[in-house]
Subunit: 588 residues, 2 copies
């Protein structure tokens, strides 16, 4: 059937019974692609019927759909002319994992972060009203996303705007892991009473409210959607679905099957063997530390998997583990409060989501100098490569915030040594930026457990002519470059591991001009506003030439890390060529 559905109009020609067959077919297509390709499994399997019913009743792209996070938009893509990207293996990567206006006029926004859909939809509705247009604006948000403050802000202003905005709350009783927070008490009560309980946050703030008990029943969905279509005021439809619906093991272990690598569709067994990574190592480490220090508490904003804090570890941690829900802003203020009270919070978070917290980092945490610990994961070209989840911005983001000490370890041993130190520090907040790529061990690393000499760079090898500052991930590359310069060019460079990226070692840098004519920095992020530029600026009046390597300000999408690096001159060969060329010019 899917072959004949080139756009939503083709769908509208079908009888409701046929829609049911179609939903089975789509579910099978999803399972086939996902088991071969990986992706968001649970969220999309839950959305099959809702999406079919939406496209059956509403008229996209005239009517506007906004998907929260948009990781649940696969069925929408299938129904809007992009089914081949799900049925034809050679075309799998023709579509992104999120809505993408460059793919289709049915996609309104590039979205990947949580809790934004209601605010964006509210804006669409306002823009529509100003122009006296009449289309429906429909926002789809999962129960997990409802923990984010931006969602609440969106709900409030949708009511204020008081015109057609249809909020679909897809309640599968799960965030990525289980839900946490007061709002979920109300959702539970609403489910238990089939939407009838009087105490209802949505009606309390002004929504017309509908409840659909079975979000996989096309008849109920279509009935209610028809009812609210062209409504003149804000409506919220609370729909219960089953995450992973139709895939046995995904229904059973919803957390594991939120997103996954390719798998055997019969057994669920993963087709990928992963090396042990910093996530798992961090989980082991924190789990052990919690046992010996009852004042220590691990905090996550709904992504316990970032530090491999699986159910066992969470249960074992008990009160020493807190999942605050998807609300990074709260998380930062929360850990600031914990640290102020004299306990020790440790908060592992993806680089891309740390972006949500600039003001909380600055005001709630840094200004108050409370000694919380934050671990930043996937802050690297080797991290997530979807344009919505890039880990390239955090160095620049943090660069202007006073009072926070940011550490950039270069290997496993240094990372855990810095972690040890951070848990003991009582005077200021510390951020540790986990290196990108595979776990790198340096058994010779001299652990000191002490990084209190702030901004003191570490000279690994003293040399002359050229100094190499390799930051975090790229120290290893600098080391290789240094070795090759010695071996092949008889140049012995100075090799520096700065360790700190929240400030510069002014004494060390002042000495650089004495016997170097060139200084190179390589950082794992955007150059603009980054760490290297601090050094270029500081040495701006000196005779030393400075070259900052990094990624130029941009939003690269679904790139291959090595290609992106090479495009920007970041490979051993390119950098050695650059050094040789410029040292020769100097010698002329």
């Amino acid at each position: 059937m899917l072959e004949n559905i080139k756009n939503p109009n083709d769908l509208k020609k079908l009888e409701i019974e046929q829609l049911s067959l179609l939903s089975n077919e789509i579910r099978q297509v999803l399972i086939d692609k996902l088991s071969n390709h990986g992706g968001h499994i649970g969220p999309n399997l839950a959305m099959v019927e809702i999406t079919i019913a939406l496209h059956y009743v509403f008229n996209s792209p005239y009517d506007k759909f906004v998907f929260d996070v948009s990781h649940q938009s696969y069925v929408h893509k299938i129904l809007t002319g992009r089914s081949e990207a799900f049925t034809d293996e050679s075309k799998y990567d023709n579509v992104s994992g999120y809505t993408n206006p460059s793919e289709s006029e049915h996609d309104l926004f590039e979205i990947g972060h949580t809790s934004t859909s209601l605010s964006l939809a509210c804006g669409l509705a306002k823009g529509r009203d100003l122009q006296n247009e009449n289309y429906n604006v429909v926002a789809l948000i999962g129960d997990g996303s409802l923990s984010g403050g931006e969602a609440y802000e969106g709900l409030n202003n949708i009511i204020e705007n008081n015109s057609n905005t249809i909020v679909i709350l897809n309640d599968n009783q799960m965030s990525i892991a289980e839900n946490h927070g007061g709002i979920y008490k109300n959702l539970q009560k609403l489910r238990e009473t089939k939407g009838e309980c009087e105490n209802n946050v949505f009606t309390a703030i002004g929504f017309d409210y509908y409840f659909i008990e079975d979000g996989h029943d096309l008849n109920s969905l279509i009935e209610i959607f028809k009812k609210v279509k062209n409504c003149k005021k804000p409506v919220l439809i609370h729909i219960c679905t089953i995450k992973g619906k139709g895939l046995n093991f995904a229904e059973h272990d919803k957390e594991k099957w939120h997103w996954n690598f390719p798998f055997d569709k019969n057994t669920g067994e993963s087709k990928i063997n992963l090396d042990i990574d910093y996530n798992e190592l961090t989980g082991q480490y924190i789990s052990e530390k919690l046992k010996s220090n009852s004042n220590l508490v691990a905090v996550t904003s709904a992504t316990p998997s970032v530090f491999a804090f699986n159910k066992d570890r969470r249960e074992q941690a008990g009160k020493q583990f807190v999942d605050v829900g998807i609300c990074e802003e709260h998380a930062i203020a929360f850990i600031s409060g914990i640290a102020k009270a004299g306990a020790k919070p440790i908060y592992p978070v993806y680089s891309s989501f740390l972006q949500r917290t600039y003001d909380q980092l600055s005001q709630d945490l840094a200004l108050n100098k409370n000694p919380a610990v934050i671990i930043v994961f996937a802050g690297s070209v080797y991290g997530l490569n979807d344009v919505t989840h890039l880990g390239l911005f955090d160095i620049s983001l943090l660069n202007s915030i006073p009072n926070i000490v940011t550490l950039a370890p270069t290997c496993k041993e240094e990372y855990f040594d810095m972690l040890e130190y951070s848990l003991k520090e009582t005077s200021f907040p510390i951020i540790i930026r986990v290196p990108g790529g595979k776990v790198l061990s340096n058994p010779n690393y001299k652990c000191t457990g002490d990084y209190s000499n702030i901004n003191k760079f570490k000279i690994e090898k003293e040399g002359s002519k050229v100094a190499l500052i390799g930051i975090g991930t790229f120290f290893n590359l600098c080391e290789k470059i240094a070795n090759e310069l010695v071996t092949n060019y008889k140049i012995k460079p100075t090799l520096i591991n700065p360790q700190f990226i929240s400030g510069i070692d002014k004494d060390l840098l002042r000495d650089i001009p004495k016997n170097h004519s060139l200084l190179i920095t390589i950082e794992d992020g955007i150059i603009d506003g980054g760490f290297g530029q601090n050094i270029a600026s500081f040495l701006g009046m000196s005779n030393v030439k400075v070259k900052n390597y990094g990624i130029p300000k941009s939003f690269p999408d679904r790139f291959i890390a090595e290609n992106l690096l090479e495009e920007n001159g970041i490979s051993k060969k390119q950098i050695i060529d650059f050094i040789i060329k410029n040292l020769q010019i100097k010698n002329d």
Copy 2:
């Protein structure tokens, strides 16, 4: 009576009748200081009885009070050993306008941004519980602050934490201006039913709820506070107060008297005559523009005064004005949606509050390239000087975000010319950074209404030896320096107004080394991660020396702008001396 109250213990010795007299005395003290000194009037007059009752019932600093925004903490300061800063004119400035741990152990955090108190308090409670301590944690939040998502996130996690946390909701039915958003429908219903209506967002998410109809009645306050003291689970007390209570004109025009300059306490007349400023000019401009363009909409996040959008202008604007409440994050997504729908949003905002939106600027707006317009006010050393409201960070903050074009006008004419252009641009978001200090007119400025040649710097005067890049506020200083170099030193520098600060003019900069040996940048913000560093980095391999002027990464508090600038070498004399000294070295 106040003389005998050196700390909260002295308060506890009084009879309730005496407390009532004390409240009158404190109110008079507040009015006296505020009329001489200026400050937050309405919020503090509303909090007199609540604060007295809190200190009467609870035991600060053992029990912990967290004030949202903390602009309503004056009475708390008076009762905790700091009354002289309110009664003795020579000591007025011994205290800041916000809670400040360096002033007193009764102050837990430096706070100035909205909606953070619940999250911070939740952290304190968690830290307390981990250490098996038993103090009360009390968070005080105004109804206005409840529109911010971080407050909602805090409410949710307080319930999750499920131990003693007492939330005091001070409901004076006002934000800075009037409230906007769905949540206020529920507050209204609760007030109308004296807290009895069944639909109650606070009980819905799990709070024990108390309602106090008269927040100026000490008996009711003390009774309920005693009841909830040492509670074992989260409690919310909804207290109705009158903003500006006890000062007739402040009760009458609550918006005007939220904060004010010194005034005549009998008439309310201002003691300060203000020059016309960019705020007022912007209000006039937008008000006119709205009339001629029905697709244009002015958006504020609860600070209409930032563009002098008083009641008359708001009413006149009708649907073309939206106050979203205190939620900057939502505001950015909202304007992105409006622009996507084809209408034109314009969002004036304080620099300090733009900090809350890094992720929304990046993901919701920039990634989607929707042509919204943002005007940044007080992004300057000449802006707000409280450490919690600094306008020094936005240049660095924006520096790493792709796709946004940021313009830095240097005078009134250029500012409005850029605004004209921004309203016509349909391809990308534009941020305009209003210059700091007094309005500067340059009647010779050639308005083009076109800034679509992105990152094209403007050479105001061609010269040699030294190039001066004066950004926004500081272009005028560079112009003066240039003139003096010509007059007194026979050096004719190149003078550049970059106009764009979201990118650099590579062609222009590549030519600089041809006949300059020194380049100076001066920007109105933190150097680290700022605009000047982009230039230092770009010219890092050239023979030109680069000196970046700005404020080093720090949190200066209640500074005098000229002093702060001079400390950092930013004065005409200092910069000329620097130039002369360094040009001579070059000539040696």
